[in-house]
C-alpha cells in the first residue's frame, strides 16, 4: 500500500525533511555473498560503446542548425559593469544574438566573483562566438574585494551564523585528559576538472524545452528550469545519456544552461553553451579551502575525553558550508565535543559539492592530529582508533543500521603489519613509512526513486528509469540487479535511462546515493515483473519454468513491473565506514613523496558489481592523491584572480603518480537497509586518503604536515621542524 511519510533526506551531509510516498519494501534481502549475477564482476554494459566512441555525450551532440554560445564573464573578483554595449558583437560575422543583464536572470551587472556571467552571444561557430564576446564594449568599475577567509569572518562577511555543535562538557573533558594535543591544519582549493566541461545543448520545440546537459540530476535540472522560467515542469525535457564526470559539480543547471535557453528562444535555433577548460577551472565550482584549529584530549590509555574544533570554510561568494566538522563529531566515541564552523563569504568563485565535501578536509585534520596523539601516548595508531570505536552514533546515540568498521580494521591488519618491513627499506635519504586513517561518510540514499521493468516475449528485459549514469557504472549495476531478480542472463537486460520524458523519477547521482536509492527500486520493479511471470507460469502449468519459456507465449505482449525505493529504517543512522593504509617513500633532502601502495578496506554493505566497485576505489584514491600532493588552485593574492586555469599549471595526478591500490570490501548486506542492503561507494574511498598519506609521511620522517597539498615547500618546512624538534629534544651532551 502506498504510504505518505515524512522523512529526513540527506545529500552530501545536508539534511532536509521531506514528504515522500513510499511503498512498503516487502522483499527479503538476498542472502549474503555472490549470487548468479549480483556480487560477481561484470564489465560495463556500455564499455564497448564508450571505447568505440559511439556513446554520445552532451559534448558530442550536434543538432541541425545549432548555434554556439559564449559568455562574457567578469575578469575581476568584484566589479560593477559601468557601461555595456553589445552592438559591436552583433556586427561580427556569424553572430545571431547577444544578451546582457536583464535578458536572462543569470546575467548581472554586479559581479561578486571572477567569472560571474554578464553577457552572452551566440554565433554559427564557437570561434565566432568567442570573437564576438571579445568585441563587446564593456567598462568595469572595480570594487574592493574580500579575499581572506579569516578576515571575512572577523568582519562579518559570512554565509549565515556559525554552526555550533556541542555535546557534553568540553572543558571538563580537557581537564580530565592526561594529554592534550592541538594543531592548525589548512586545506587548499581544488577543482573538479571533469573531462567533459559543464555544458548544455537546448532547443525549443513549440512550447516544450529540450535540454541536453551534462548533469548528475536530470530531475533537479528540470525542476530548477521550470521554476525559473515559470513553465510547467512537464514542458521541460532533460536528457543526459552519457556523462563525462561531475564529482558533485553538476547537480544544478548552471548559468550556461539559462544562457543557452534564452539565446535559443531568441534565435529559434538549438544553442550549445559549453564552458571552455579555462572557464571550467574558474567558475564550475570547487572544493573550498578550509582552516581547522583542532584540540584533542585523551587519557593515557588513549580514551578520548574531549574534542574541539574551530573551522573556517572559505565558501566563496556563494555556496554552502560543507560539514568539515563531521568527522570530529561522528568518527569516534567521545563524550565531550564542541565544534564551531564559520562560513566565510569572499569574492571568490562559489564552491560546489566535491566528492565527500567537508569530510575529506575534516578527516585530514582530525586523523593527522590523532596520530600526533598516538605518538605522544606511544600507542599504536590502529589500536588508538580501535579503543575509541563508536558503537552507536556519537551525535545522538542512535543505533547504526549496520557498521563493520572493526571488521575493516581487522582486515587492514595485514597491510598495517607491513610497516616494519616497509620502514626497514629506508635509506639515508629515502625514508619509508606507513600511515592509516579511518573513514566515515553518508551514502545510504533514500526515497523517492522509481523504476519500471519491461519483459518481452523474447525473454529480454528493459529497465526504464530516468536516472543518470554519471560514469560510475550505474547502468551495469542496475542491469545486474534486474537480471538477478528475474533469473535471466545479464546480457538479456537493457537499461534505458537519462531522459525525464522516458521513465519515472529517479534519484540524484550525488552523495553516493545512486546504488542505495535506485538499486532497491529496480529490484522491486523486477520482482513485480517476476511475480506476474510466476502467476502466468502457474496458469500455464509451468510453475518454476524459466522466464524465457513462460513469456514466449506473449507475442507482442509485455510484462510490466514497477518498483519504488522504500523508506530508510526509522530511527537508525545509516553511514559508510572504512580505513586506508598508505605506504610512502620520502626523499628527506628534496621533499619528494612517492605513494607506493594504498590498501583500502571499506564497508558499504552488499557489493553489486565488484569490478565497478574496484574502479570507484581506485578513482577515489587517485583523486585523493591529487588533492594530497599536487592539486592546488592558486589565486593572485592582490586581485583574487585565478592563476591556474590550465592543466599545465593545475597539476592533476598522472598515471606515474598512481601507486599499487589494493581494494577490499567487507561486502556484508546492511540487514536494516532496503531490499538490497547496499550503500554507496562513490565518495568513501577519497575520504581518508590525504590523512593516511600524511600519517605515513610522519611515520617515515617525523615530519608533521599541516597543509594540503603537501608541496615541496610544506614538506621541506615540516622536515626542518622535525629535525629541530629532534635536536632540542635530544638529551644534553648527545
Amino acid at each position: 500500500m502506498a504510504r505518505l511519510i515524512r522523512t529526513e533526506k540527506e545529500v552530501e551531509g545536508r539534511y532536509e525533511e521531506v514528504f515522500v510516498v513510499v511503498e512498503e519494501d516487502a522483499l527479503d534481502q538476498w542472502p549474503a555473498g555472490p549470487r548468479d549475477v549480483v556480487g560477481r564482476p561484470a564489465t560495463r554494459v556500455d564499455g564497448l560503446e564508450r571505447a568505440r566512441g559511439q556513446a554520445v555525450f552532451t559534448a558530442d551532440l550536434k543538432l541541425p542548425g545549432m548555434l554556439h554560445a559564449a559568455v562574457l564573464r567578469s575578469p575581476h573578483a568584484h566589479a560593477r559593469v559601468a557601461r555595456l554595449d553589445l552592438a559591436p558583437a552583433l556586427e561580427l560575422p556569424g553572430v545571431h544574438a547577444a544578451i546582457g543583464p536583464g535578458d536572462a536572470g543569470v546575467l548581472q551587472r554586479d559581479c561578486g566573483f571572477q567569472g560571474a556571467p554578464v553577457a552572452a552571444v551566440c554565433a554559427a561557430t564557437p570561434a565566432q562566438a568567442r570573437a564576438a564576446v571579445a568585441a563587446i564594449d564593456v567598462e568595469w568599475e572595480e570594487l574592493a574585494a574580500v579575499l581572506d577567509a579569516e578576515e571575512a569572518v572577523a568582519a562579518g562577511h559570512v554565509h549565515g551564523e556559525a554552526r555550533v555543535r556541542e555535546r557534553g562538557d568540553v572543558e571538563a573533558g580537557f581537564a580530565a585528559a592526561d594529554v592534550v594535543v592541538e594543531g592548525e591544519y589548512r586545506t587548499q582549493v581544488v577543482l573538479h576538472n571533469s573531462l567533459e566541461t559543464h555544458q548544455a545543448v537546448v532547443q525549443w520545440l513549440g512550447d516544450t524545452l529540450e535540454v541536453h546537459i551534462s548533469t548528475q540530476y536530470v530531475w533537479g535540472v528540470r525542476r530548477d528550469i521550470a521554476a525559473t522560467l515559470g513553465i510547467p515542469a512537464d514542458k521541460v525535457r532533460v536528457v543526459c545519456t552519457y556523462m563525462g564526470g561531475g564529482f558533485g559539480s553538476k547537480n544544478d543547471p548552471g548559468d550556461y544552461t539559462f544562457v543557452a535557453i534564452e539565446l535559443a528562444r531568441r534565435t529559434g535555433r538549438p544553442v550549445r553553451c559549453a564552458l571552455s577548460r579555462r572557464e571550467e577551472n574558474v567558475v564550475s565550482g570547487n572544493r573550498n579551502a578550509t582552516i581547522q584549529r583542532l584540540r584533542i584530549g585523551a587519557k593515557a590509555d588513549g580514551t578520548l575525553t574531549a574534542l574541539e574544533g574551530e573551522y573556517v570554510n572559505a565558501v566563496g561568494f556563494d555556496g554552502w558550508s560543507s560539514p568539515v566538522e563531521g568527522p570530529m563529531n561522528q568518527l569516534y566515541a567521545c563524550p565531550n565535543v564542541r565544534t564551531v564552523t564559520h562560513a566565510a563569504k569572499t569574492n571568490q568563485p562559489p564552491m560546489k559539492a566535491f566528492r565527500a565535501p567537508g569530510f575529506v578536509e575534516g578527516t585530514f585534520g582530525l586523523e593527522a592530529l590523532l596520530d600526533v596523539l598516538a605518538a605522544r601516548l606511544e600507542l599504536d595508531p590502529l589500536e588508538l582508533r580501535r579503543r575509541n570505536h563508536a558503537a552507536s552514533e556519537p551525535l545522538d546515540g542512535r543505533s547504526y543500521s549496520g557498521k563493520n568498521l572493526l571488521e575493516c580494521y581487522r582486515r587492514a591488519e595485514p597491510h598495517w603489519e607491513r610497516r616494519h618491513e616497509v620502514r626497514a627499506r629506508s635509506t639515508a635519504t629515502v625514508k619509508r613509512g606507513v600511515g592509516m586513517a579511518s573513514q566515515v561518510w553518508y551514502g545510504g540514499g533514500g526515497p523517492p526513486s522509481y523504476a519500471w521493468v519491461r519483459v518481452g516475449a523474447d525473454g529480454r528485459a528493459t529497465v526504464v528509469t530516468a536516472m543518470q549514469d554519471i560514469g560510475t557504472g550505474s547502468r551495469t549495476a542496475m542491469a545486474q540487479i534486474a537480471a538477478e531478480e528475474l533469473g535471466i542472463p545479464l546480457e538479456h537486460v537493457t537499461v534505458s535511462l537519462g531522459d525525464t520524458a522516458r521513465g519515472p523519477f529517479a534519484s540524484i547521482s550525488a552523495g553516493s546515493s545512486t546504488i542505495p536509492s535506485m538499486g532497491p527500486a529496480v529490484r522491486a520493479a523486477a520482482a513485480d515483473a517476476r511475480r506476474q511471470i510466476e502467476e502466468i507460469a502457474e496458469q500455464m502449468g509451468k510453475t518454476g519454468a524459466p522466464v524465457a519459456e513462460v513469456v514466449s507465449v506473449l507475442e507482442s505482449g509485455q510484462i510490466l513491473g514497477k518498483g519504488a525505493r522504500g523508506p530508510n529504517p526509522a530511527g537508525l543512522q545509516v553511514l559508510t565506514f572504512g580505513v586506508q593504509v598508505a605506504e610512502v617513500a620520502v626523499d628527506v633532502e628534496t621533499g619528494e613523496v612517492w605513494v607506493e601502495r594504498i590498501a583500502a578496506v571499506h564497508d558499504v554493505g552488499r557489493v553489486i558489481n565488484p569490478l565497478g566497485a574496484s574502479s570507484q576505489i581506485e578513482g577515489g584514491i587517485v583523486q585523493g592523491i591529487g588533492h594530497t600532493l599536487s592539486e592546488h588552485r592558486l589565486d593572485d593574492p592582490a586581485s583574487g584572480v585565478v592563476l591556474t586555469t590550465g592543466l599545465d599549471a593545475y597539476k592533476l595526478p598522472t598515471i606515474a603518480d598512481v601507486p599499487e591500490i589494493v581494494g577490499e570490501l567487507v561486502d556484508v548486506p546492511d540487514a536494516q537497509l532496503t531490499n538490497l542492503g547496499s550503500k554507496g561507494l562513490g565518495e568513501p574511498p577519497i575520504v581518508p586518503t590525504a590523512a593516511a598519506i600524511a600519517n605515513a609521511i610522519r611515520d617515515a620522517t617525523g615530519a608533521e604536515v599541516h597543509e594540503l597539498p603537501i608541496s615541496r615547500e610544506e614538506l621541506l618546512r615540516a622536515l626542518r621542524e622535525a629535525r629541530e624538534r629532534e635536536r632540542v629534544g635530544a638529551p644534553a651532551g648527545v
Partner: protein, 270 residues
C-alpha cells in the same frame, strides 16, 4: 593565419613551427598572433651525427639516442609527456617561453611591455630565485640546462654561439629573453662529449611537470659545469654557491631543493 611549408631555411619573417607543442598553445592563448606560420620540419635537420644534433630532432628521439651525453638524454626523458616529446623538437624546446602564470594569462607584465612583475608581489612559488629583480619568470627548459652544463654550441642560420649566449636576462633596456634575431633559425646544436654527466629534476608531480628545479652537471677533464633549470629567467650557469640567490617570500624552498640536487649531482659524477 596562414600555414605553409618551408622550402628553405630563410622563413622570410614568418613564425617557424615544428612540433607545435609550444606555438599552438601560445596562438590559442592569443599570446602569439603570427600573420603566417611556416612549418620548418622539411628544412631543419633532424637526427644526430658526430655530436651534432639537428634542431628538428624530437625529444623522444634524443631520449633514446645512445651517442649523446647522459645529462641530455635524461633531460629529454624527464621533460613533458610522452606525447609531447614525440612531437616537440630540440630547437623549439630551447626557445619555449616561461610558464609564469601571469605571463601565460597575458597580464601586462614587464615581459608583455608593462611596468610590473606581478609574480614578485604575488604568487611566485614556482618562480625564479636568481636574477629575479626585474622579472621573476623561471626558464622551463630541462634540455637547455643540460646543454648549458655540457657547454654546447648553437648553430643558427646566421652564426654559432655558446648556448648560454642564446639567452638574455630581461632588463629595462632590453626585455628579450633570447638573443635570436628576427628570421634567425636554430639549425643544429653541437654537443661536446663529456666524461660524465647527469640531469636531476624536481617537479610538482612525477611526470608532465616543468622543473621546479632541474640540475644538470657535466664533468669534462678536470672541470665540472653545473647548470640549473627553473631558477632564473634563463637557463642558469651555477657559480658553485647559492649566496647570490635572492629568493622571494614563497620560493625560498627552491634554494634548499637546488642545493640538495647539486650535491647529489656532484656525488653522481664523482
Amino acid at each position: 593565419m596562414e600555414l605553409r611549408r618551408a622550402s628553405e631555411l630563410d622563413t622570410g619573417g614568418a613564425t617557424p613551427i615544428a612540433g607545435g607543442t609550444e606555438v599552438v598553445p601560445l596562438v590559442r592563448a592569443g599570446l602569439l598572433r603570427p600573420a603566417e606560420l611556416v612549418d620548418v620540419r622539411g628544412v631543419v635537420p633532424r637526427g644526430v651525427e658526430d655530436g651534432t644534433i639537428g634542431a628538428g630532432t624530437t625529444l623522444a628521439e634524443l631520449e633514446r639516442e645512445p651517442s649523446i651525453p647522459a645529462a641530455l638524454r635524461e633531460a629529454c626523458r624527464l621533460a613533458a609527456s610522452p606525447q609531447i616529446r614525440e612531437m616537440g623538437s630540440l630547437g623549439g624546446n630551447l626557445l619555449q617561453a616561461t610558464r609564469c602564470w601571469y605571463w601565460r594569462l597575458g597580464w601586462e607584465c614587464r615581459l608583455h611591455g608593462g611596468d610590473r612583475c606581478f609574480a614578485r608581489d604575488g604568487e611566485h612559488r614556482e618562480h625564479a630565485i636568481f636574477a629575479n629583480g626585474y622579472c621573476a619568470s623561471a626558464h622551463p627548459s630541462d634540455v637547455a640546462a643540460a646543454l648549458l652544463a655540457l657547454d654546447a654550441t648553437v648553430v643558427t642560420t646566421r652564426r654559432e654561439l655558446p648556448v648560454g649566449e642564446l639567452y638574455h636576462v630581461p632588463a629595462g633596456d632590453d626585455r628579450r629573453t633570447t638573443t635570436l634575431e628576427a628570421g634567425e633559425l636554430i639549425v643544429s646544436v653541437r654537443v661536446p662529449a663529456a666524461d660524465a654527466s647527469v640531469y636531476l629534476k624536481a617537479g610538482g608531480r612525477k611526470l608532465f611537470s616543468f622543473p621546479l628545479v632541474g640540475v644538470a652537471a657535466a664533468r669534462t677533464g678536470g672541470s665540472t659545469r653545473i647548470a640549473l633549470a627553473g631558477v632564473a629567467p634563463v637557463p642558469w650557469l651555477h657559480s658553485g654557491s647559492f649566496a647570490a640567490a635572492s629568493p622571494l617570500p614563497r620560493n625560498a624552498y627552491k634554494v634548499e631543493l637546488a642545493e640538495a640536487l647539486v650535491r647529489r649531482a656532484l656525488a653522481a659524477l664523482a
